[in-house]
Assembly symmetry: C2
Homo-oligomer: 74 residues x 2
């Protein structure tokens, strides 16, 4: 469980980020939350196909940036 | 109303995309949906601050790409 909860948060949503690059091919959608007064980091939460599980992604990881760039290119 | 609905869709979620660049500063979060067998386009749905309204963004618009790049840079 890497996502704290859904909805309006008064702190960061992500507790830890997913390290397994393999999940890239199981991503159904990706949600980006820019920094707010409650959380200084941009947070990226991916929803996985089939399970619908939500995992936090590391915004600084090259593979994460690549996943998003690839989505934007289509 | 530019978003058809939330949840699993069997067709594209977006009917039309937002043309007003001014909304960029009102974006609370952005959700990216890669192409599927039901919708050949990547779809980007932004949730707006205050109202919580959801609008579709044009994936090819330079300002949209810029909004996302800026989020990734933080």
């Amino acid at each position: 469980m890497s996502v704290r909860g859904i909805g309006v948060e008064l702190r960061c949503r992500c507790i830890e980020t997913e390290r397994n690059v393999q999940i890239a091919r199981h991503i159904e959608s990706v949600e980006l939350f820019p920094p707010t007064s409650h959380c200084k980091d941009t947070e990226i939460i991916a929803t996985l196909k089939e399970t619908g599980q939500q995992v936090c992604l590391d915004t600084t990881a090259p593979w994460v940036k690549k996943v998003i760039q690839r989505m934007l290119a289509k």
